[in-house]
């Protein structure tokens, strides 16, 4: 008996076979004893099934053939193809990782270069600024000195001009005063004095007067 069959169905099937062969079960009962014993064995077979622990030859043959075919396929193509695909993917991922590492190293190198250049630029800018500041200070000092010198020169020139003008004015005044004084004296005394004597008298007088003013 096999799975999917019921015991009753199996018995009915065996009985139908006997009935078909002998016409009826009654006729079979009076039949040969060997046939009855075979029928009993068949009915026991409906209850008993082959031992599940004993392997069936046909199942071993088909199962082994299936396994052999599968192993041949796996050894020939299945496993190597999958392995190649896995290896190719691993290599691609590794290559991508290496490329990424290289790109990262390049970027780091570029960054350090930029930072170096930036530091140099900052240093240069600081130097330029210092130099400009020094130049500005120097220029300011120079301009200040030059301005002071100009002022001093202009002041000296102005002083000289003033002094010259003063002397000129004094000389002019002296001449005028002398003429006026001579004229006035001539009129007062009615006498004509020598012009040279008068002039020397007046000069000495004026110098006396000027000296007394300077001292005063």
């Amino acid at each position: 008996m096999a799975a999917g069959e019921t015991i009753g169905g199996c018995v009915l099937e065996k009985a139908a076979e006997v009935e078909k062969e002998y016409g009826s079960l009654q006729a079979f009962k009076s039949g040969p004893e060997d046939a009855i014993e075979d029928f009993e064995d068949d009915l026991e077979g409906c209850v008993e099934a082959p031992s599940p622990i004993l392997p069936e030859i046909d199942e071993i043959i088909w199962g082994s053939a299936a396994f052999a075919i599968l192993f041949a396929f796996m050894a020939w193509k299945g496993f190597p193809a999958v392995r190649r695909a896995m290896d190719a993917r691993s290599e691609k991922i590794q290559a991508d990782l290496d490329a990424a590492d290289a790109a990262k190293a390049d970027a780091m190198s570029t960054k350090s270069q930029y930072e170096e250049q930036l530091a140099e630029a900052k240093t240069a800018a600081a130097a330029i600024i210092d130099e400009a500041r020094m130049q500005a200070d120097q220029l300011r000092t120079d301009l200040q000195a030059r301005a002071e010198a100009d002022i001093a020169e202009q002041r000296a020139r102005a002083t000289a001009d003033i002094e010259s003008s003063r002397h000129q004015a004094i000389d002019d005044l002296r001449g005028d005063v002398a003429s006026i004084a001579v004229g006035a004296a001539e009129r007062v005394v009615g006498a004509s004095l020598d012009a040279e004597v008068h002039r020397s008298l007046i000069d000495s007088y004026i110098e006396e007067v000027a000296g007394s003013r300077d001292n005063g």
Binding site: P55, D58, F71, V82, R84
Partner: protein, 255 residues
């Protein structure tokens, strides 16, 4: 077979299937044979499709299944038991793993609902194949006498203990291993199939009379169905890892 009014078929009837074709020959085809052939075809299809060149970096679908299986067997089986030199056995171990897995998993697939390895045929055949493989590997790696010496006289054992150890190792290495491999796989799948059948019959019988109590065995049936997925995977893994252990032990004298 009637137990507490439950009509249970004889245990053997759950595992013996009628012949579909070529009845009475050595090439008779039944449900068990069809499951073996299906396991072969499914594995071939998965690895055939997974091996095609693809642009995508992320594996998906059957490619993911195949590569996960290969990765799992390499990292969890081969590297743990044999080492890097065991990579040459990867096709063999991968074949064993997927063939057993797909022969087991049919126990919970609707309509099929029969684990082919609950029949003794392939557990025995695969165990004998493994026995041949690890003995051949042992002889090739260590030489005939060296393999026998390392197998029967394990190093580090006091010499007077060889009187006890050597017969044990002889029986263990050359007799018990294939039997234990075959019976472990077969018995686990038989037990799982029996449990599923029992709770399925119980649920169906109770459903005819009491709707509410039928829910309990049905819930148990659902739990066992999920559990059988784990068992199917676990038994495939155990068979594969023990195969790798035996091969690794044969390759190295110090094992």
């Amino acid at each position: 077979m009637s137990i507490f009014a439950l009509e249970l078929p004889p245990v053997s009837h759950l595992f013996d299937w009628p012949t579909i074709w070529l009845d009475g020959t050595y090439f008779a085809i039944n449900k068990t044979v069809l499951v073996y052939l299906a396991a072969m075809v499914v594995t071939i299809v998965i690895f055939g499709l997974a091996g095609r060149p693809r642009e995508s970096l992320v594996p998906a679908g059957v490619q993911h299944v195949a590569e996960s299986g290969v990765n799992f067997i390499e990292s969890s089986v081969v590297m743990q038991t044999i080492g890097p030199e065991g990579r040459k056995f990867m096709p063999f171990l991968t074949t064993i793993f997927f063939f057993i897995l797909f022969s087991n998993i049919t126990g919970i697939i609707p309509i099929v609902q029969f684990p082919a390895n609950s029949r003794m045929a392939m557990p025995v055949a695969l165990s004998l194949l493994v026995w041949v493989v690890y003995n051949v590997v042992g002889v090739k790696s260590q030489g005939g006498l060296g393999y026998l010496k390392s197998s029967l006289f394990p190093p580090g054992v006091p010499k007077f203990l060889y009187v006890i150890v050597t017969p044990i190792e002889l029986v263990s290495t050359f007799v018990v291993r294939p039997f234990s491999l075959a019976i472990r796989l077969w018995a686990n799948m038989v037990a799982g199939h029996l449990l599923l059948a029992t709770f399925a019959i119980l649920s169906a019988t109770l459903w005819d009379f009491f709707y509410v109590p039928a829910a309990l065995p049905f819930l148990m049936l659902l739990f066992l169905t999920v559990f059988e997925i784990l068992v199917a995977f676990l038994q495939a893994f155990i068979f594969t890892v023990l195969t790798a252990v035996y091969i690794g032990g044969s390759m190295h004298a110090d094992h």
